[in-house]
Subunit: 140 residues, 2 copies
């Protein structure tokens, strides 16, 4: 099953951006991520819409952080990128009158919902500045 690594990539970019004085161009980000500038704009524009980065056109333009890292959480970025479910497991929606299907879906959904809430709660606790510091400390 295909994974969505945009969260990982965008966090990576945002933390790097914090260490730069100048705006970064989509082209540079694309090179850094081994991808395409248009793909970068598509993804970054989701963050712009939520006010986490801003874009400036023309000479010397590019992307800059619109908020300090300590005001951005993993949850913020995750939410900006997708409304889709966290899980690869899906439910069926076919025999909505079958009590067995209902029971199965309820059982699965119960668990996934709880785990999903856990993820969101934990994501909300991690700001990007903490991430850079605390987790960097864990690396050897």
């Amino acid at each position: 099953m295909r994974k969505d690594s945009r969260l990982s990539r965008m966090l990576h970019v945002l933390v790097h951006m914090h260490h730069l004085e100048q705006p970064v161009t989509s082209d540079n980000i694309a090179i850094m991520l081994g991808t395409n500038p248009v793909v970068v704009r598509r993804t970054m524009s989701l963050l712009r819409e939520q006010g986490y980065v801003s874009a400036v056109k023309g000479h010397g333009g590019g992307w800059t952080l619109a908020k300090p890292l300590h005001c951005i959480t993993l949850l913020d970025i995750h939410r900006s990128l997708s409304e889709a479910s966290l899980f690869t497991i899906g439910l069926t929606d076919e025999h909505t009158n079958c009590p067995i299907e209902k029971a199965v879906n309820l059982a699965i959904d119960d668990v996934l919902h709880e785990a999903g809430q856990l993820v969101l709660r934990r994501f909300a606790e991690v700001t990007l500045d903490k991430l850079a510091v605390e987790y960097a400390a864990k690396l050897n």
Copy 2:
């Protein structure tokens, strides 16, 4: 992102199988699920390999439960169907020497791992007979 609804579907089938005296053919399961008999065999054979169902060829053949429902958990079926991750979120693996990427991945993986463990623990607690009874009770 595409969802894998095989867990939901197979659980549905297994509980139904319990209420039948006769083996069910792949063709019948396929009709019931609105899919293809070959797809059914592919998926059911994963459960057969783990000993949860057995298949008999020829006249009067088909699929039957190889264990009683109270000996099968959601986890058993989930494990039989995939070794893949539960989450749609993926990590990047490109700048393995970049401490920022490492920190980002560690932060995300930390959370996903904990949530994944929760799901597996909870799946392990639910046997298919309980599912049929307990969750059926919650329906209205």
